[in-house]
């Protein structure tokens, strides 16, 4: 189905849905031009309403942020830090990206929808789950917000917003959407800045655990014999130890810097991945294409990394997605117990702890950071769930 589309009408799509076909490029040009000004307009005209409205919303939100924070943006070239530059770049990328998505999606959209590669079919199945798509959407928005924080946060992370006696523990209002804490700091701004800690730690720690877990599992499964037995006994040992207690022990005893926390979170999460990967590798090892690779005389490392590991990535991606959520909860837990990155670094867990003894009088101090954790983690869990369904060959 590679040819350019000619003529109008509808036809059944590759996956049984009906695809609306539009007439040739000549007539579509004005629509595409309109979409460059207001991305999503063309999608709506062509009947893909949900996508179109989403694009429009993204475009309008990006523009709104750019206009609202115009003064900050102008000030950045003189005084900006790396964070500020990153925020500007993100904003620019979002502006260009939405415009391009608006037009490119129209030109190539239908051919892509009819694609039948493995990735395309998996993506289609992922998209069918609304909750998974919602999770993915929230994740994208959150990472964008994280990068844009210097532009959109109303106040600094450790900034007292006024005279302490006047501004401490203010309830949510128009000036402070989520209220202020006992040091007169804006809760919303601190949550936004705290997102950087949580999302970054979650991401890096998971990257570590997934790399370690996949490598160990693949080696154990492929090598077999004594190496397998040894590695798996070690895995059992780490699994048998309640992870939180190991974490508390190491962080409390070895110091609570961000580096230690990331390393410890990453290096205690791998056993579950190792088990999954090992199981898959055990069955892959006997498959013909692996035997063929071996018969061709490839070195074991090449067989392992070029032929086996790419084929176990499905479950690994699922484990990684769920792992990020898990890691964020654990990091919050450590911060809650006072074992997170030291103050005044804003972390969600520490913010919850900071509002614990004033729950009755000032509920907002602890409630909103906790809610932020729930939203982020729920998004990762929903996306992970959708991925599991999309990538599971048994449910195909």
């Amino acid at each position: 189905m590679g040819e350019p589309l000619a003529g109008g009408g509808t036809r059944p799509g590759g996956d049984g849905r009906t695809i609306v076909e539009t007439s040739g490029h000549a007539i579509r040009t004005p629509v595409i031009a309109a979409s460059a000004v207001l991305p999503g307009l063309g999608h709506v005209i062509e009947g893909r309403r949900a996508q179109g409205l989403l694009l429009m919303a993204a475009w309008i939100a990006t523009l709104a942020i750019a206009l609202k924070s115009w003064q900050r943006i102008v000030a950045i070239p003189g005084t900006g830090s790396a964070d500020d530059w990153l925020a500007i770049l993100t904003l620019a990328a979002m502006l260009v990206g939405t415009c391009m998505a608006g037009t490119a999606g129209l030109v190539r959209g239908q051919r892509r929808a009819a694609g039948s590669s493995r990735f395309a079919s998996e993506w289609r199945r992922f998209r069918r789950s609304r909750t998974a798509m919602a999770g993915l959407g929230v994740i994208v928005v959150l990472y964008a917000l994280m990068l844009l924080t210097p532009l959109i946060a109303p106040f600094g992370p450790a900034e007292r917003v006024g005279d302490l006696v006047r501004v401490r523990l203010l309830p949510p209002s128009a000036a402070h959407w989520l209220g202020t804490d006992r040091l007169g700091r804006d809760v919303l701004s601190r949550i936004l800045y705290g997102a950087r800690i949580s999302l970054t730690i979650g991401f890096i720690a998971t990257a570590i655990s997934i790399s370690v877990g996949t490598t160990l599992g693949a080696v154990a499964g492929y090598a077999g014999g004594r190496i397998d037995a040894l590695l798996m006994r070690f895995t059992d040992l780490v699994l048998a130890f309640p992870r939180l207690i190991l974490l508390i022990m190491i962080v409390a005893l070895f110091g609570q810097s961000v580096v230690v926390i990331v390393l410890v979170l990453g290096l205690t999460q791998w056993p579950s991945t190792t088990r999954i990967v090992r199981g898959d590798v055990l069955s892959l090892r006997e498959r013909e294409f692996i035997q063929a690779a071996r018969a061709l005389g490839f070195r074991p490392a090449r067989v392992l990394f070029c032929h086996i590991i790419p084929n176990v990535l499905g479950p690994v991606i699922v484990a990684a997605t769920l792992g990020v959520g898990n890691t964020i909860v654990l990091e919050a837990g450590l911060s809650f117990l006072g074992l997170g990155p030291p103050p005044p670094t804003p972390t969600w867990g520490a913010m919850v702890e900071g509002g614990r003894d004033i729950m009755i009088s000032s509920w907002w101090v602890a409630t909103f950071p906790g809610l932020a954790i729930v939203i982020v983690v729920l998004a990762f869990n929903l996306a992970g769930d959708g991925l599991r369904d999309a990538l599971d060959p048994r449910l195909r």
């Binding site: 992870r243 409390a252 919850v352 602890a366 906790g370 729930v374």
Partner: protein
Amino acid sequence: MTAYIGRRVLGTVPLLIGIATLIFVVLHFAPGDPGAMLFGPNVPPAIIEQSRHAWGLDQPLWVQYLKWIGALFTGDFGWSLFQGRPVSQVVLDALPPTLALTFSALALVFAAGVLIGVYQGVRQHSAGDNALSVLVLFFYSMPSFWLGMMLALIFAQKASQWGWPVALPASGTTSVDYDLLSAGGRILDRLRHLVLPVTTLTLALTAGVARYTRGQMLEVVRQDYIRTARAKGLPERTVILNHALRNSLIPVITLLGLYLPFLFSGAVFVEYIFAWPGMGRVIVTAISQRDYPVIMATSFIFACLVILGNLLADVLYAWADPRIRHG
């Protein structure tokens, strides 16, 4: 069966020794000295040296290690550095509240999880299935400490403000007037104190069991013998409860063992929030004080409970599924 159990029990011994070694290594390579922690910075080094000697911390590492491994067999973990009583006493006091909390939660988690999972498995893709999926994941995504605080706020503090008939206690295991209550009143009082902590743990952990049961049900109901059962004209109820459920529940047993680490991790936070005098509180306090004997003993006992749980799950599994023990 006996041979199988024997093999599995023997297999845990190296695991236990490995864990004991891990604990020892982590603690003894950590910077920071308990003497300095106990006495503060303004104490002459001689006194700190003396206390190190009294605690046996000045002996060669291998002597300390052998003593520690020996202690595992005698149960004599020495004295707490800060509480002035034997570690075994500390553990014995803290273990019952933790077990009461975790096992009540465990029972509820499996009861609720299996019910929800079976319902979802039978009604795949229905509105109820989707709603329940999101609901259990929602609670699963909550940090247990935050969930606990929210429940305490609503059902303990606000409930009495709002004049609800049931305001639940959110701290400790008994009320202040516990000693004045009648026998029945005492049991009721203890149960009331269990409600919020157990609910917190249950809500946070039900998702895993529910999802796993759902997956099992989905797989089982697609199998041939279920079609046969239906074709024989059996009522749907019998097909689900007698044929499908039984076989889907067998793998759920293994979750029992895998769940214990999560349960104990959750208990640490729940005990912290609800001032529950259990192992979780003991270990958090001990770590902040660097009370080495207490840290070592409590973390070892946590690990033992996990291994015991896994062992039990394996044995149950073998009992329910003959392929395992003969395989």
